[in-house]
């Protein structure tokens, strides 16, 4: 057997072992795993809610507002799209460390610190993508909304609301970024068992311990969780598209279009 075949076989057996381990963890459900999954979802969902709420509002406003320095802000938010999670983690660590400006909060190595780090991580994504979506619509329809009497802030909100299905994808992208990152939560959370350990830090730990099947199993479970969420969003979008499509079909059948 050649070396290539040997690697292939080893790879496949690791994957098979991982899938079996994942099943063993899920059936019956392992309480420790469940708590890690729940913590991962809780931290990332909260961070995503905070980061997206701020990012969507700021992005919607940036999409319609015109002022000196706007291009500089756009360039900055676009640059922050590529900021490494560990850098965000480091910044939050410095902020929350005892000698840092937010040290009095006592959040370091807590779930709150992890939420803060992930919220900061997704904020530029939500801002930049929302800004782009709203700006495109503003270029096409901004004058009509101005004609109706909508000022800058309202125009941003109306256009964002009008593009809510596209923004749903932005929110999913933010959630994906939050739940998949490891660097920030590792630094500010500390990967403390039963307290700040989440899926990604658990995977990193198991990998460093050499338990690759378990690490991969955790990875598969993480992917499954995200897959289920994405599927739910896709079903929601499809349902909306179908309901609007049926209205159009009805109109066509009545000779109205």
């Amino acid at each position: 057997m050649s070396n290539g075949d040997s690697y292939d076989t080893r790879f496949m057996s690791t994957i098979t072992e991982s899938a079996a381990s994942a099943l063993q963890l899920l059936i019956p459900p392992d309480p420790v795993l469940l708590s890690i999954v729940a913590r991962s979802l809780g931290v990332s969902a909260t961070a995503c809610a905070i980061g997206c709420a701020l990012g969507l509002l700021f992005g919607a406003w940036l999409g319609v507002a015109r002022f000196a320095g706007r291009e500089a802000i756009n360039t900055l938010t676009n640059t922050l799209l590529a900021i490494p999670a560990v850098v965000v983690g480091l910044l939050v660590y410095l902020l929350l460390s005892r000698s840092g400006p937010l040290g009095y909060l006592g959040w370091l190595f807590s779930v709150e610190a992890m939420v803060l780090a992930q919220a900061l991580l997704v904020l530029p994504i939500a801002t930049a993508l929302t800004r782009q979506i709203v700006e495109d619509r503003e270029n096409w329809h901004g004058q009509q909304l101005r004609s109706l009497g909508a000022g800058t802030g309202l125009r941003g909100l109306l256009l964002a609301w009008d593009e809510r299905y596209a923004l749903l994808t932005v929110i999913m992208a933010c959630f994906g970024r939050a739940i998949a990152e490891v660097g920030a939560v590792m630094i500010v959370g500390g990967n403390i068992e039963g307290f700040t350990r989440v899926m990604t830090t658990a995977i990193a730990l198991e990998t460093s311990k050499g338990d690759l099947p378990l690490a991969l199993a955790l990875g598969l479970i993480l992917l499954t969780v995200v897959l289920l969420l994405n599927a739910a969003i896709a079903v929601l979008r499809r349902w909306r598209e179908q309901s609007e499509g049926q209205s159009r079909q009805l109109a066509t059948s009545q000779g109205l279009t």
């Binding site: 096409w140 004058q143 009509q144 004609s147 109706l148 609301w161 609007e244 279009t257």
Partner: protein, 238 residues
Amino acid sequence: MKSAIFQLDGLGVRFGPVQALRAVTLRIEPGESVALVGANGSGKSTLLRVLHGLIRPTSGQLRADSAARQAMLFQRPFMLRSSALNNVALGLWLRGTPWRAARALALQALQRVELQEQAFRPARTLSGGQQQRLALARAWALAPDVLLLDEPTASLDPHAKREVEQLMAEFSHGRAGQPLTMVFASHNLGQVKRLATRVVYLEHGRVLADLPVAQFFDAEGLKAASIEADLFVKGELV
């Protein structure tokens, strides 16, 4: 002398290197129905947007009657992803009418354009003609003194065109004794004949002819005013 709705003196608009309007001097009186005609790129849409306050002139002066309520209709009306009723109510709400009252007024406006049965349908599922009538309802609901229309029938089929034009004709009579001033851009010379009392012909941002409608379509009168306008009317210039 009664006050004009719009008074433009040597007005110009420049977009970077492009001079969209040049030294436009124009006076529009209450109750007039003014058609802006000219080839593509002649400045019709820019002039309408200047009158509506969407574009600032870069030179000259624009004096508009600040007491006159304005509404504008665009060639392709923008409808939010919501019901026809909500789209009409939105315009009223944005101008300060409480939402519940806005919806009640919106329903009346939809009845005015015979779209009441489509009130709860998503606006974007309506046909092009229906959407333009919806936009007319949205404008009409605002009880405007001035209605500005940018080629409102340009992308419609003949049947929808007739429906929209019919509504424009009805609206031009005003309501409750209040005259409506209508300024519209059009390529449709038949429509101009039917709806306008006065025609302004634009070319490369300049006003080349400003004549009462009968005179504009009188060959000799127009030739005297502008050879280009004469050619445009004959269909030899697009």
